[in-house]
Amino acid sequence: MTYVPHTEAERAEMLAAIGVDRIGALFGDVPEQVRFPKLKLPPACSEIEIEREMQALAGRNLGTDPSASFLGAGAYHHYRPATVDYVLQRGEFYTAYTPYQPEVSQGVLQALFEYQSMMCRLTALEVSNASHYDGATALAEAVLLALNVGQGKRSKILLSPAVHPQYRAVVKTYLRGIPAVVAGDEDGGAGLDRLKSQLDQSTAALVVQSPNFFGQFEALEGLSALVHAAGALLIVVTDPIALGRFRPPGAYGADVAVADGQCLGIPPSFGGPHLGIFATRMAHVRRLSGHLVGETVDLEGRRGYVLTLATREQHIRRARATSNICTNSTACALAATAYLATMGKAGLRQVAELCFHKSHYAAAAIARLDGFLVNPQAPQRPFFKEFVVRLPRPATEVSRRLREEFGIIGGYDLGPDYPHLQQHMLIAVTELHTRAAIDRLVAALEQIAK
């Protein structure tokens, strides 16, 4: 069936008004030889049947118990308060378009203004846009902003190898068509010092992630001074949950902070939709991509909100726009706003601390097992909620046995992205993991190692 409401009588009346006798006559401009193809699609089904079919499909997936999954690597299981989905399910929000008519869009505009405010406070930066698609595309847009600031004289982007491999891949795709070079991540094991040594007059930006892909805090102190001395921008990829307790990118002198906000009340949902967070300094506001919500007043002096500085955007500036982005991730930004409002200052701090303590408990327990090493590459660097484990057996084998014998979804196999980390697994622990769940993982790893 369809959701078309027309009765036969209404249809006839409308066709008569138009002056045609049948609905097919409306398509005279469509070349006859291609008109009305017979589509090879499964036949239509009812609402009951589609629910059944989708439940069957969903039922063929494992990993639906977050406390038995230790996968992170850019998407995380965190607690989502019931308030978040309550807000998301308001039809006035989720069935609206981009708020181009502000008089009837004050709800989403104010929510986005509050989102921008929270992102500025969390990152310690001055301006946040209203969202990007995901963390990786936010990073790619940050790199484009840096190249724009460099005005063609600076074309080198230094990417730390400890930035999420998929983020680096997306940046490289985004730069395919324009004169820019990416350097710094040739050697997957290289540290920050190597990256610093590559800074020069052609560098537009240096990109680091902290906590990095391996879960560790990078030594950011003093980095911005070096980067700025070279005339480049410092771009920091971060984890918004960590910002509940740990120093924000702005405090380290970052020019741009980007992150994926999926951890803020959005389900992993097999990879999307997620939320691209993008914050920077006011100096770059006119080079920023994406929507911005600004405060103003109506003609009676009442406070209100509008999309602003739109001359940066594609619908006005066309070929000279800062970006092509139009649709973004507003509903996810709304989720993050509701999440952070519910959590508040104390709640987010507690989530961050629980992640820290539980992951350290897990790391210490695994480190005690024979044949396992934790963070062997940099054992002294502090970490947040993820850590690297060197396994006594291949990661694929460990993952398979965890799943088949213990019903546990293991960590991320680092070998394919980092050749020097064969037999290494990245394990994520959050506030959703009880001590018992962690103990089960540790016991399972011990069994598998035997």
Binding site: T2, V4, P5, R11, M14, F27, R35, P37, K38, A44, E47, I50, E51, M54, A58, R60, N61, L62, L71, G74, A75, T83, E92, F93, Y94, T98, E103, V104, S105, G107, V108, E114, S117, Y133, Y174, G177, E221, L243, F246, G271, G272, T296, V297, L299, E300, R302, T308, L309, R317, A321, C326, S329, C332, A346, G347, E353, Y361, I409, E431, R435
Partner: protein
């Protein structure tokens, strides 16, 4: 907002509590919205040098939070609120069952980096959706990865670039774009490293064929066509345009924003398009979300299939004939355009939508979308001038200016708000002065369309009887016209209130 609201002075009909304090303004030190369990593990020493002093988030009770967002939602207009004829945006009904399905734990809780063996349901869903979109569009391959329409355009253009470079044709640097195109087309072109060349439209609203002919040479990488175009008109010379571009070695990109006129009516691939993005949030009714997230999968002809962003989902048959789904990298892939596999939550909804409709249902959707749009054009054309007045597809453009009164399209739009309708798209396409671009979609009934026509006619009468009334609209909304100049000059982009002051 009631239909036909009169022009009573604003302060008489609006609540005194018109301003909703921000979350920061409502913050009170020490309030909590949620509790979390105490740590059940020993506390580990935290690195002092990495700790922040304060995280400046507001502090509210849970009821504060709920009331805040409920109040905000009540000052927002969605499809669920009322008729939303926003041209080029396809604001059709978003089925509620799809929202329920997308929240099933078996979908929502799965992690994108799980072993393929543990997510065969997800991968089968993605594989099927790829197949169905390819069938609907007439394409050889589909990648679901792009997150939005503009993202799909960028992806398509990068594939076109890679295709030409693969053939050693580095001189192909220009992309032809009609002057009626969406702004994303030229913006995506620049991002992909091409030069956008704007081509004029002819007197019937088609792209000017002579201009296409004159522009086609060895420097052309391709053309970006929206068909039906943004005037809502099927391009009458599409076959010739495609032939001209192909003959000079270029490729044809299709902006799929208007696919709601064509699904089941004609396949862009059959018309000769080489690549097109699908807006799942338009044609396949995944919600617009107040501006996103959407999903913008790309479909391609055989010559571009190897260049798709990877991974795509492939199928293999086991020894017992059982299907097994797994990610695969196209041989000449342009690489990733987003993390993981794209906006999976939208794939679930689009899958359910296509399954509910089948091929005949999709065709019926397009037919009724076109029926509704033509009906509105016929009913409105004597009131508001329709510059290209011929049989249209799923949308049409009229002009909102009323001579000698100074009334503009913007005024008509704002007055519509008082009648309880969301306005059409304003001032687009750029080639029509004072454009009002109207797309009713198929899910609106005749009584709704008739009520809209009546409102438009009433407003037209008001422009004669009391133009000041129209110029001052809206009156019944939570705020009246907002000072956009001030917003762009004062530039207040974040709340100045300090959380938990006092």
């Amino acid at each position: 907002m009631k239909s036909g609201a009169n022009a009573m002075p604003a302060d008489k009909i609006r609540s005194k509590a018109a301003i909703i304090p921000t979350l920061y303004e409502q913050s009170v030190r020490g309030r909590r919205g949620i509790d979390l369990p105490d740590a059940d593990v020993p506390e580990a020493p935290m690195p002092a040098e990495e700790l922040n002093l304060d995280c400046d988030l507001p502090e509210l009770s849970q009821l504060d939070v709920v009331r805040h967002f409920l109040a905000l939602s009540q000052r927002n207009f969605g499809i669920d609120t009322g008729f939303y004829p926003l041209g080029s945006c396809t604001m059709k009904y978003n089925p509620k069952v799809n929202e329920q399905i997308a929240r099933l734990a078996g979908f929502a809780e799965t992690h994108p980096l799980q072993d393929p063996e543990s997510v065969q349901g997800n991968l089968e869903l993605m594989f099927s959706l790829q197949q169905w979109l390819a069938e609907i569009g007439g394409f050889a391959g589909v990648s679901l990865q792009p997150a939005a329409g503009a993202h799909g355009e960028f992806t398509g253009l990068l594939m076109m670039r890679a295709y030409h470079r693969d053939r050693g044709e580095l001189e192909r640097t220009r992309i032809l774009i009609p002057d009626s195109a969406h702004g994303t087309n030229p913006a995506s072109t620049t991002m992909a490293g091409f030069t956008a060349v704007e081509l004029p439209s002819d007197a019937r609203g088609n792209i000017d064929l002579d201009a296409v002919r004159a522009a086609c040479d060895r420097t052309v990488a391709g053309i970006m066509m929206t068909n039906p175009n943004t005037l809502g008109l099927f391009e009458e010379h599409i076959g010739e345009v495609v032939r001209l571009v192909h003959d000079c070695g270029g490729l044809v990109y299709g902006d799929g924003a208007n696919l709601n006129a064509l699904a089941g009516i004609a396949r862009p691939g059959d018309l000769g398009f080489d690549v097109m993005h699908f807006n799942l949030h338009k044609t396949f009714a995944t919600p617009h979300g107040g501006g996103g997230p959407g999903a913008g999968p790309v479909g391609v002809s055989a010559k571009l299939a190897d260049f798709l962003p990877g991974p795509v989902i492939d199928i293999a048959r086991g020894e017992n004939g059982a299907a097994r789904y797994l990610p695969a990298e196209p041989t000449k892939s342009i690489g990733r355009v987003s993390t993981f596999g794209g906006n999976f939550g939208m794939f679930v909804r689009a899958y359910a939508y296509i399954r509910r409709h089948g091929g005949a249902g999709l065709r019926a959707n397009s037919e009724h979308a076109v029926l509704n749009a033509n009906y509105l054009r016929i009913k409105l054309r004597d009131t508001f001038r329709v510059p290209f007045d011929r049989m249209n597809m799923h949308e049409f453009v009229c002009q909102g200016a009323v001579e000698s009164t100074g009334i503009r399209a913007l005024d008509i739009s704002k007055r519509l708000l008082d009648y309880g309708f969301h306005p059409p798209t304003n001032y687009f396409p750029l080639i029509v002065p004072e454009a009002l671009m109207i797309e009713p979609t198929e899910t609106e009934s005749k009584p709704t369309l008739d009520a809209f026509v009546a409102a438009m006619q009433a407003i037209a009468a008001e422009t004669q009887s009391d133009p000041g009334l129209v110029k001052g609209a809206p009156y019944s909304t939570p705020v009246r016209r907002l000072d956009e100049v001030r917003a762009a000059r004062a530039v207040v982009l974040a709340d100045r209130a300090k959380a938990a002051a006092g």
